[in-house]
Symmetry: none
DNA sequence: AATGAATGAGCGTTCATTCAT
DNA sequence: GATGAATGAACGCTCATTCAT
């Protein structure tokens, strides 16, 4: 009995996951409004009506995607950041795991990027919540860095958060629109270097080995 | 005669502009796919069929928006950049005019932000062309800066472009989603400062007056 | 099990047939371009959308009509012709069955007559195929008659085919436009007589009982 | 004054004729319902609105076509028939002039053929009137032939009319659908022969030179 | 008389959602 | 629970006709 229940639960969960993944797959390729429930059902190998046993509506699929799937990813960000000690290492871990996870699941990345940039967002609440999680992590890192002395104090933290998130987003976006074939993670190191040091030249510093230099060749596809 | 011709031309042009603006207004509020031709027609004060005298299709409205309206804006970017001499000033001018123009026409900004982040872009060609214009301007500035000695040489320029554009995009996005009521242009100066100096603390530099400090109060709405 | 399957198949087939018949009914009354999908749906007792579960488009209804319904009819022509031995009897059978079938399904007759006489024919391929079937039957009959000695040898067969088909067509057309209330089949015998003997008087033959004389009263409505 | 009036009248008439011809040209190519007033206006070299100064509606163009243009043609039929004396010669003249006129104006022929075969005919009254004219001519010829002794008496005249008209129609139809490039008029002689003698073989007659034999090679395109 | 911009009713088609089986 | 046929509201687009100029 226990076992059967378990199987059934897994089966049920399986079908939920299968539909969700199928949906994200389709949404990533065609966009939410260009995708039909029929296409999602076919991709998931279920009947059209079955989808409504697991999701309230087409919109609900997107909402579940944000509250379920991407939430897991963002929780991993927190874990990864906590593994490091210094603010700079924490920032490095955040950027790296972000690029890693989005590279690992390109469909998720695509849907995430597109949906977060809509004006009317179906999953507004979920997106806001996740956005806050991410912004809070960056805030903490910046503030820790300022306390440690590794980060400038004359910063407007609200802007720094957009400065960092926006850059990472755009790097992912470029990767997505390029076809997603080059190595996204190799961008992490030089990106962190840009965040910390900026593009400006400092006389006293120009003898330092360029950070992330080694990555340039690997990432040469971007231009 | 000349006058009548002028009036007629203006009338014709007027209606084209009126429809385009009405459409962008509606698209900005509801998104392209949620907007109907009927809504646009009502907003423009014309009949549904009239729209098809000026635009080939619903998609064409978006394409014309990108070829017409945003092209003008991007040409202003080039002009403004050319007014400055040093790379740093040019970057400052670019960011400032970008934020200025997008703040001035919030509907344009919204549609631009949303449409450029779709996976299937209706105005793909126009967007690619404009994107290239912008990326080229940034490339030139970075290269000039390197020649002048004001910009680091150990940079992967392809990444620097995303680093800059992404940050600006995200600052605009945040402003759009906040309701667009605070002063976006005040972000220009501190943003350029971040690009140039990064967030990292440099011992030798920590006695400098914080760049953009004065903007913080004005922009306090972001967090 | 077998029974359920049968019922289900019939139900599905039923709806397809119902829509097809409703469509032909409407098309016959109003013409293809004057008829709307809504009218067809109402006539068939289904929703507008249901039609698109069985037909790809409005045009496809006409195409299916020609591939399905009229094909069956034309196959009956072949069967009926094969039942006779002499060329003259075969021609008689062809004309008789043609008039019989078209009289039996006046809507089919109407749509067939109208659509085959368009300049741009939606079901061009199907019509050409069927036209060829009919022409081939007539050709065979004429050639058999020539071999038997019952048909003149100094004939241009290409023209004879039009001569026969055109007459039959026109007789059907007249019947259709008259309201289709008199007996069409009674035209078969006198028509065959005209094909064989023509209208010209032959001295040696004028003592023969007039063929088809008996039909005149029955068909007196035509003039 | 007189002269100017005349010019003006001609101009007016010119424009009416130009529009009518343009319309028939377009209708012949695309069919009535597939043609737009705009296309007709462009073809005629006038503005869309101008058409409504000369015709009450789109339907009215078709009605004028039948009452104006084709009426002239059918009056020529009468004239040509009157030139002959014997019934057989009259029939020959009728068929010949019919094929000649329709070959001379292929657009007229196409529109005539298509519109007369519709179920709901826009120009119903005009078509009926013309049809009656034609049928009456054939009736007269047949009756004259019977009086002369050249035509069988045991004929149902109502049917004979369809027999003749239908054949001619179908020969024209075949020519139209073949692209109208072979010589249609060459069909007149063999067609009359078929009407008079039929396809049946008469022992006593088989030494006569085949009528219309000479035309066969010229008309070899039909099959 | 001539224009052609403007109109808006009307159509074919799609697709999220429901529900009988 | 699972199905997929059926629904019908909604949309983009067309085009005959009008009318101010």
């Amino acid at each position: 009995m226990e076992w059967r229940y378990c199987i059934k639960t897994n089966n049920k969960n399986d079908k939920y996951q299968r539909i969700l993944e199928a949906a994200i797959n389709i949404f990533a390729k065609q966009g939410f409004y260009q995708s039909t429930i029929s296409q999602v059902a076919t991709e998931a190998g279920v009947a059209d009506g079955t989808i409504y046993l697991y999701f309230k509506s087409k919109d609900d699929i997107l909402i579940q995607f944000f509250s379920d799937k991407t939430k897991q990813v963002f929780e991993r960000f927190r874990e990864e950041v906590d593994k490091a000690n210094s603010a700079v290492d924490k920032l490095g871990n955040l950027i790296r795991i972000h690029l890693e996870e989005f590279q690992r699941d390109r469909n998720m990345a695509m849907v995430y990027q597109v949906e977060t940039h809509q004006n009317y967002r179906i999953a507004e609440n979920q997106i806001k919540e996740m956005s806050k999680m991410y912004l809070d992590i960056v805030s903490e890192i910046v503030e820790q860095g300022q306390a440690e002395g590794s980060v400038r104090r004359d910063l407007y933290v609200g802007l720094v958060k957009r400065f960092i998130i926006g850059s990472v987003d755009e790097v992912i976006n470029t990767w997505l629109h390029s076809g997603g074939e080059y190595d996204l993670v190799s961008m992490a190191e030089p990106l962190v270097d840009l965040f910390i040091r900026g593009v400006g030249r400092v006389e006293e510093r120009n003898n330092i080995t360029p950070a992330g230099e080694s990555s340039y060749s690997r990432a040469a596809e971007i231009n």
